[in-house]
């Protein structure tokens, strides 16, 4: 920092000198900068097709401008509104039901005294994170299979009817969120465990001298100490409510469950990639990206306000 400040006091000639001095560092940066320009920024120019009547033959430049026509079409479409609503619903339920699980898990793991048992539990609960979505979906399909899946066998044994869960819209969110918890809750607890490790042990020692129970130590020391971490991660999630796991949803949903399963990004995938209506799908993408950016900025403001530490 001080070197940069010093040099900024000097005149323009020192800028060239600095660049000449550090040319190797610029050379190291160049490939990555080119990569970001080609694969991240160049597509941003392609966002213009959201405002054009795209034709493959005329190309991106040659296609005529149509202003906000595609956006009007989208907002008149029930399917687009359904996708927005489903995105928000899945995010909301994940926020409420799935995000507390890793916190509870971290608190529980932290209470284990035996190192061996703790390591074993951690190894087991982190494992599903490394299983791919395709395999998770494959296992979910096998478990829920109407003919011979384990869940339906159990239901039948209890005298209940067999259900083809994956074709029932009312079950989709439960299946999606439940299997997401299975896959990620363990791994997500790592960050909370790291925060717990940072708590000053003297707090626990003095609480013990005062005769506090373990439950009291959790609720009065551990939980308040990791509250900033919880708050920041909550705000990050809030900023990302439009980002739902479409790669996973695509594996699990079917036309019969679109009513609850079709989210903005799966809608974009179907209309754009599968249906080749690039302009309409790009318009939906523009809407998604702009709203997402606003949400992230608001979330960061909130985070600064509450915890005095920005997310970025």
């Amino acid at each position: 920092m001080s070197a940069a400040r010093q040099s900024s006091i000097l005149k323009d000639s020192s800028l060239l000198q600095d660049i000449r001095r550090d040319w190797m560092l610029y050379a190291m940066l160049l490939p990555a900068v080119i990569w970001f320009a080609v694969f991240m920024y160049q597509p941003m120019a392609g966002l213009q097709i959201a405002f054009k009547q795209y034709s493959v033959f005329k190309g991106m430049q040659g296609s005529p401008w149509v202003g906000f026509d595609h956006f009007v079409t989208l907002f008149q479409s029930d399917f687009f509104w359904r996708a927005i609503l489903n995105t928000l619903m899945i995010s909301f339920y994940s926020l409420v039901l799935a995000s507390p699980v890793p916190i509870i898990l971290a608190l529980m793991i932290n209470e284990v005294q035996s190192t061996g048992f703790r390591k074993t539990v951690q190894t087991a609960v982190y494992l599903p994170h490394f299983v791919s979505f395709v395999i998770v979906a494959g296992i979910v399909i096998a478990l829920l299979s109407p003919g011979n899946g384990l869940v339906n066998n159990a239901l039948e044994a209890l005298g209940l009817d067999r259900t083809y869960f994956l074709t029932r819209p009312e079950w989709f969110r439960t299946i999606y969120i439940g299997s997401s918890i299975w896959k990620e809750a363990g791994f997500d607890s790592i960050i909370y465990l790291a925060a717990i490790m940072g708590i000053n042990p003297a707090l626990y020692e003095s609480a013990q001298i005062d005769g506090a129970t373990r439950w009291q130590m959790i609720t009065r020391i551990t939980l308040p100490s990791i509250l900033p971490t919880i708050a920041v991660l909550f705000v990050i999630r809030l900023g990302n409510v439009l980002e739902v796991g479409y790669e996973y949803i695509i594996l699990l949903y079917q036309p019969t469950t679109y009513d609850t399963a079709d989210v903005i990004s799966t809608y974009i995938y179907r209309v754009g990639i599968q249906g080749a209506r690039y302009d309409i799908a790009a318009a939906a993408g523009v809407f998604n990206a702009v709203v997402a950016l606003i949400l992230v900025l608001v979330a960061n403001k909130l985070s600064r306000h509450f915890t005095r530490t920005g997310v970025f």
């Binding site: 800028l15 940066l29 490939p31 048992f117 979906a137 899946g149 363990g186 971490t229």
Partner: protein
Amino acid sequence: MMSRPIYSVGDRWFGRVNAILLTIFALCALYPIVYVTSLSMSSGEAGSSGQVWLWPVEWTLAAHQHVVKNSLFWISYANTFFYTVTGTLTSLALVIPAAYALSKARLRGRRVIGFFIAFTMWFHAGMIPFYLNLRDLDLLDSRWGIVIAFALNAFNVILMRNFFESVSPTFEEAARIDGANDFQILWKVYIPLAKPAIATVALLCAIARWNGYFWSMVLLKTEDKIPLQVFLKKTVIEVNITESVAGAISQQPYSLETITGAIIVLSIIPVLIVYPMIQKYFTKGVTLGGIKE
């Protein structure tokens, strides 16, 4: 760590209940994998009639033998190895030098370039323009397209930069007195120091490559280029979700269910083998990437 405290009766019960619940959670985490493994080792009859729930019923490896005879399974397996190895090496070759340069406070334009990279975490053009860009670059259905187009992301650059920033500048100063230039300092001093961080980034890339399916599915059309996860999607998801093939192979020692199980088990084995060794690096990655800038 604290010395082991002496607990009251209530606290000891708390500990027991906690241990029992955690044991249940751990078993829940493992159960689906055990179930699929047992399913894959059961007879076709037992698999399709739903008798399997914990251990293999009528033990047989017929399903596994059937899967390993499929040449497309092995081609996709080899493809996944190719994409994982070349993809991870490409990522490292791009991430390490860039992160090193960005970690130097003296670098002019450091903040601007840092923002140029970090901005892509908050705003990206989205699926369709990204896809059309690849099409314009003629990278559809291309192995190298898969390797290069997904080689970088801002998070990995920032994670690596955070590590380089935490290294004491005295290392660089000492090397500079010995007459080393920036390339030599990175190669001989910083890379050896950064081994844990490099391992973390490498494993993040490798796991993403091994497990990812979406863009390979979208971009690759030729059958002999597809990775394992796309093969899995075609054989496990698309076949099962319609259930149209069920019963068609009932006279065999395997069934659709046991075949599905066998494909899943055979594709997950490499992950299960390396997982115990790599676990600690992921823990490091979560804390290193952290919430810092």
